[in-house]
Amino acid sequence: MLFHTAVFALFLPIVLSLYFLLGTLRPSERALRAQNFLLLCASYFFYGWWDWRFVGLIFLSTLIDYVVGLALQATDEKRRRAWILAASLAANLGILGFFKYYNFFVASALQALASIGVQAHASTLHVILPVGLSFYTFQSLTYTVGVYRRELGAQREPIAFFAYVSFFPQLVAGPIERAAHLLPQFLKPRHVTPAAFASGLRQMTWGLFCKLVVADNCAVVVNSIFDRGTPVSGSVALCGAFFFAFQIYGDFSGYSHIALGTARLMGFELMQNFATPYFSQSIPEFWRRWHISLSTWFRDFVFIPLGGSRVSRARYARNILITFTVSGLWHGANWTFVVWGFLNGLYYLPHIFLGGRAPPPQRHTPAALVLVRVAFTFFLTMIAWIFFRAKSMHAALTMVGAVFSRSLLTNPLPVLKSYGLVASCLFAGSAISILVGLEYLQRDKGYALDIAGRNVGTRWVAYAAMVGVICCFRYTGSALDFIYFQF
């Protein structure tokens, strides 16, 4: 079920009511067990709502890692522990690889063979990609690797562990929590203060604004430009890229905010996943602020094991390119995602080879220079987003080619008008302005609607305005899935 649907609006109050009711049980350990069991049932129900067949897979994946954790804890022999971890990696990544990449690799191999004149045949399978597979697989791996590295002990309590892996607020699209951060929250009583509850509601509201008003209104423009099937001018392509940049940001950060807010209603604190990334002044800074849970996962589990940055510049560059390319592949079984990842890796290289330092704190940098850096970084990410969104490499290259051609200087308005997109651009543009404005004003906060410190009048005007904007300016076509659900 989607966070912004009526079904979830029914589901959540029921779960919360039962959750707080069970919280009154005594002793507190009994309450904790009951609440964890409720969360487990609710999470499986939430997940099964997509497709009941997915439930068996998440159960299997969780069971494997539960057993692996206990097996790792039971032995100190290094070689044996390595084999046990390898079994977990093979099982988890094998499941992920099969469901997500089987058809992609078969098709790519056949294409490669055909390009050298070898006609081969192989069957592709009708494999449904289970929602959230990439996310909970990575989350589960942080547990087994954590136990292997002795950063945390194995979890014997099965309910708590299964609830941790399947925790519904962040199950299908993150944040990808570290076991060391989230699992302990299932093991001690959780107390929800009125302030925390209010904060949770505020963050959910902000998330709904990002998704329903910003992302979904941008999607109307983006879908029309990218899915047209005919070449567009550079200026129109750039418009499409611009609106997609905010569609994916609104969509994904919106989901994350709703996830964090929902979790906080129950006394859980999840990690921040976005920190106003489009205000970044460089690509490295962007990747410290965008999808933080995934970036840090790849840093800790791919980049650092490869050697990280404490090697020669050439190896550093190699490690960066591998990490970003694999990250691109994680996003989807298509060469466009691989190229997107690789391109972001390429963007990093000047910082490696030219010895680029992080820009000085903003108060020492002229505003104009900050603006130029921010705009340039945003432009680079926009170009990369074209690959992310395009349906094929050919379409992506055609659009990028148009951006870097003279047609970039043509007026896009007549074309947008002929596509019937002027009103949509107006709504999407207004939504983006509100988003950027509020995020700038609240840039030192975790989310823009974090206004607990303001006076009551200001808060209520802000709440009323935000709810009014969501109600009156949300996109009202068919409910658009969150983009990251396909990963």
């Binding site: 009323a464 009156c472 009202t476």
Partner: protein
């Protein structure tokens, strides 16, 4: 929290009573519930604007019309289900069988949200695009997607200094004053546009089947009616589409089929290529009365024969 909830409630009330969308919704509901102000009504007309031209002021006391411009077969089902659930004593349903009701243009209706209430109240297992919770939530004005769409459209049109033209809003008489060649051209174009996609979607046929099943379960006799149009409008119907509709009526054992599409050649009987004028509506009701053996026309109009 209480203050916020109260504010939200007040905003909804204000939106409901001040906005044109909800005014239209109230008119829509009045037309349906108006059935119960005719205690002797046992025959009901249902369909879209083609049928709505048979205004209730023209009808006999035991006949009532719940048709509304823009209705698709889903709305027809919802209304019938609602009336039956409220113990309406209907013995005859004059159900539109115009082929365009099975095409692209009737896949979604601008009235779709208006009938959610009927489907919810009659505990319908069908008809909720996003599930019944979403439909229930949509009864709250600020959560109503169609209202939001209407609001956004109003804003964009006010910015364009445009006024939305109401379809088929020509005054009676204007159509007849057009040259024949012009009428032919307009009718052809309208016919081609209205009859695309017939047979491409199973949904309209499913709804027709549900209406037939509901009627049968409540001993309601269905008379399928095809309404008068300009010849060029009818000629634009693909032959296979025509066969599909006829076959569907056969399959559902609806044998009482009144095809009045070519009943009138006089342009004075029309307000546009596919809607009869008031004069045409009266003439049509007389024809229907003769064919069915049932007085459908209001007494004072009958007396003027």
């Amino acid at each position: 929290m209480l203050v916020g909830t109260a504010l939200f409630a007040v905003t909804n009330v204000v939106a409901y009573h001040s906005n044109g969308y909800f005014e239209r919704e109230r008119d829509y509901h009045d037309e349906v519930t108006g059935y119960f102000e005719r205690p002797h009504a046992t025959a009901v007309f249902a369909g879209d604007s083609h049928v709505a031209q048979l205004d209730n002021s023209l009808l006999a006391p035991d006949v009532y019309n719940v048709a509304w411009g823009g209705d698709s077969l889903r709305e027809v089902y919802a209304k019938l289900r609602y009336l039956v659930a409220r113990h309406a004593k209907i013995d005859t349903l004059f159900l539109t069988a115009d082929p365009h009701m099975f095409g692209d243009g009737r896949m979604e209706s601008s009235n779709r949200a208006f009938v959610d209430e009927y489907l919810l109240l009659s505990l319908s297992p069908y008809g909720f695009e996003h599930g019944w919770p979403s439909a229930a939530l949509g009864t709250v004005p600020l959560f109503n997607d169609d209202f939001v769409q209407y609001l956004k459209k109003t804003i964009t049109e006010s910015l364009k200094h445009d006024r939305q033209k109401i379809r088929g809003g020509e005054e009676d008489g204007e159509w007849a004053q057009l040259p024949a060649a012009e009428r032919l051209k307009i009718a052809s174009a309208a016919g081609a546009e209205d009859h695309t996609g017939i047979g491409a979607h199973p949904e309209p046929f499913q709804w027709y089947e549900r209406i037939a099943a509901l009627a049968q379960a409540n001993n309601i006799h269905i008379v399928a009616v095809m309404y008068p149009s300009h010849d060029a409008y009818i000629d634009a119907i693909p032959p296979q589409a025509e066969s599909l509709v006829r076959a569907e009526l056969q399959r559902l054992n609806i044998h009482d089929v009144l095809d009045f599409r070519r009943a009138f050649a006089d342009p004075a009987y029309f307000s546009d290529p596919d809607h009869v004028s008031r004069r045409g509506a009266i003439a049509l009701l007389r024809l229907m009365s003769e064919r069915t053996g049932r007085d459908l026309l209001a007494r004072d109009l009958l007396a003027r024969q």
